[in-house]
């Protein structure tokens, strides 16, 4: 499709852009989300416990596999910056595609991980209780010890048994 645009039009509009100093980026939704994920839960700011649990879960799964943040990002084909934010910032809202990729990489059900990440709503409160218990049991220490490993494996089992 050929589009005729004059030089004057291009430059006038460009000058307007400079004067306003505006950004023009569009597109906050991810193109990929798990098909069986429930609708995005936009009120999950009120569920920081699951965010803590999600970041802790990703961190422990990574360490269990003896992976660096960079190598996990590369293997799971996700952005390294977002992975750092997931692990370090309890208020970070991950992209659905990132959670989908992590679920595939860790071999856990995508809907469960979506719920843990606060991107969809769990059907009952027990899931959140499990997430909080996991977050409490797995407080960060220098190395992945037996207790953390047990907590992690128990929680993987909870995630895997959910439909």
């Amino acid at each position: 499709m050929k589009i005729e645009v004059t030089k004057d039009w291009c430059i006038r509009m460009a000058r307007l852009e400079v004067e306003t100093g505006a950004d023009m980026e569009i597109g906050g939704a991810s193109a990929v989300a798990s098909p069986d994920a429930v609708a995005l839960d936009l009120s999950s700011e009120s569920m920081p416990e699951t965010n803590i649990a999600f970041g802790r879960f990703v961190s422990l799964m990574r360490r269990k596999r003896r992976q660096t943040v960079e190598s996990l990002a590369e293997d799971a084909e996700i952005d390294v910056t977002e992975l750092v934010e997931i692990e370090e910032d309890n208020h970070h809202k991950p992209e659905p595609r990132t959670v989908y990729q992590l679920a595939k990489h860790f071999d856990v059900p995508t809907p469960s991980l979506m719920q843990l990440a606060g991107l969809s709503v769990a059907k009952n409160a027990s899931f959140y209780e499990e997430a909080i218990r996991f977050a409490a049991r797995s407080e960060t220490v220098e190395e992945l010890n037996d207790i953390e490993r047990a907590a992690l494996e128990a929680f993987v089992s909870v995630l895997s048994n959910r439909k």
């Binding site: 499709m1 569009i26 193109a31």
Partner: protein, 212 residues
């Protein structure tokens, strides 16, 4: 499918001079390589700088997690999802994906077809809040919006376009583009604001660049 090239111009911000550029009606492998090899390192550096400077997260580039390759594969060159890009000096300066299956929401246009802008991103070195006073080229966003309007006309949609704007961009679409702000969309992730342009507003936008 062959990609057609239209000659356009960008403004070199530092010299104030027009620079030859191209508007392409497609996004090819070359653009995805530019995004991976050239855009992403600049975006990552920008995020690191902002993080180190203690700048709050909401002010970081909101497109930092976008994956254009994944978007391109997702759309898989579907006829309903055409793309456009602007190149200059051998480098991709901006990209946009569209969707032709959306309907208008403004009362006077309800149910009529429009061109929906799915994704639009300017190269990080052209963005003032990343590159500051060293922003390289201006005019990319206007050209891509113009391309969406022209496609809308070609499809018989009379220039109608719609989009969900990121918060950092709301002012541009409301004030400079003159689009109608239909408010935060409760059905859209992150409740982004939805903007729509009527045929009359499209005329006004095009006229803006023709007025001395």
């Amino acid at each position: 499918m062959s990609i057609e090239t239209s000659p356009v111009f960008l403004l070199d911000v530092s010299s104030g001079q027009p620079i030859d550029a191209e508007l392409l009606d497609g996004i090819a492998e070359q653009q995805l390589v530019h995004w991976e090899d050239e855009w992403m390192p600049v975006l990552r550096d920008a995020v690191e700088r902002m993080k180190a400077a203690g700048i709050e997260r909401t002010k970081w580039p909101q497109s930092r997690h976008w994956d254009w390759r994944q978007k391109a594969q997702g759309f898989d060159r579907a006829l309903a999802n055409p793309g456009f890009c602007v190149t200059c000096q051998g480098m991709t300066q901006g990209m946009m994906f569209l969707d032709l299956l959306h309907k208008a929401r403004i009362k006077s246009q309800t149910g009529k077809e429009l061109v929906y802008i799915e994704y639009l991103e300017n190269a990080p070195w052209n963005r003032r809040h990343i590159a500051g006073d060293e922003a390289r080229f201006a005019g990319v966003g206007s050209l891509l919006v113009r391309a969406a309007i022209e496609l809308s006309r070609e499809e018989g949609f009379k220039g109608r376009i719609g989009l969900h704007s990121l918060p950092q961009s709301n002012a541009w679409y409301a004030n400079t583009c003159g689009m109608t702000d239909l408010g935060a969309d409760p059905d859209y992730p992150h409740q982004l604001r939805y903007f729509e342009m009527t045929p009359e507003q499209a005329e006004a936008f095009l006229a803006k660049g023709n007025t001395p």
